[in-house]
Amino acid sequence: MTITPPQQRAAPATATRLVDLFQYGLDAPICLTWELTYACNLACAHCLSSSGRRDPRELSTAECKAVIDELEALQVFYVNIGGGEPTVRSDFWELVDYATAHHVGVKFSTNGVRITPQVARRLAANDYVDVQISLDGATAEVNDALRGPGSYEMAMRAMRNLADAGMRNFKLSVVCTRHNIPQIDAFKQIADTYGAQLRLTRLRPSGRGADVWDELHPTPDQQRQLYEWLLAHGEEVLTGDSFFHLSAYGQALPGLNLCGAGRVVCLIDPVGDVYACPFAIHEEFLAGNVRQPGGFAKVWRESPLFARLRKPQHGGACASCSCYDACKGGCMAAKFFTGLPLDGPDPECVHGHGEKLLARRPGDRSGIPRPSVDHSRRGPVPVKLTRRRPDRPPVSACDENPLAGLRLP
């Protein structure tokens, strides 16, 4: 009986990290977000796409199907269909069915406005469609302050209908804020009650989010609390990999842990513009338009913006930080829309490096980028869900009223 001395043992093969694989680029996104419309029945204070009013240049049903055909050919595995509120499009179901019939899985994000019992039964019967209900407060008080009066009840009703219809594991997606982080356990209970999977995501200063980010983003203590909670809940709770900047605390959360913009994901917006990511709706991150010759595939493969994003990133100001390899400098969109340099720390850098830079910004917010795209509604929003709308004749796709043609049950 002899003991094998350590130096004679073979070193294990070094596994290639996934992040290293993407420097070669991908022929197609793995998944992507597709905002079908800028129309929305709500006017959430933090809306990342500044939605509200339909854009008259929206892709037609035929154009949408052409996009789906492309996604099928590219073998994009699934799309997250959002908006605005995607279900207000009169061709919504036609497009969802077309996608699933063409080997593109669908998850759609909704505030619940059209999730009636009948719709819920239809969803429960289709294995290739997943639903994500948005909720930003575990109580009406916290939620409606951000999403508008009645929006909490609307989401709860939708979840009740989905649960009653036997839909399992639909998603309950929350944007984490200063006001709802104390409610994390309550969110988990709500998700469990309805047989849903909880998804916690990061508040970004994107779209209208730029206006409320300063007062709504988590405090450093809350960020730490959130991180510990996510670690404790493992793969049970989804995050859309939106907290990869927190891996600088130590153990990484589940996910690819990298910025997917232009590399594994992107956004197609309601008028066919292709952006690097849904949190980066700004000319700076506009790669092209699906209406151009060559369509979406050509934009994905040949856009100079995407080629730049696919180059290996170097740390810049973060290069000397021991955590850079874990956090990769954080979220590009978060830096951009808080006016921070892209080659420096994330505004919520766990070591506080971002906070220091934020404090040095001019008080008048000069130099902080704003997109030229803004579909927000002007004037107050009367959100009275119990009001029945009068019957309307068929309207054209050019109607800017986001509720054109919508009948509430």
Partner: protein
């Protein structure tokens, strides 16, 4: 557990570790929700 291991025991454990690392170099599972930039 003994501090001392037989050559066979050490070799077995080493084989398992090498195999695990080898499998990790071949295949990795990630949640479809594990990609940042999808809301």
């Amino acid at each position: 557990m003994d501090n001392l291991r037989t050559t066979d025991g050490a070799a077995e454990e080493q084989t398992a570790l090498t195999e695990e690392a080898a499998v990790e170099s071949l295949i990795e599972e990630v949640s479809i929700d594990g990609m940042c930039g999808v809301y």
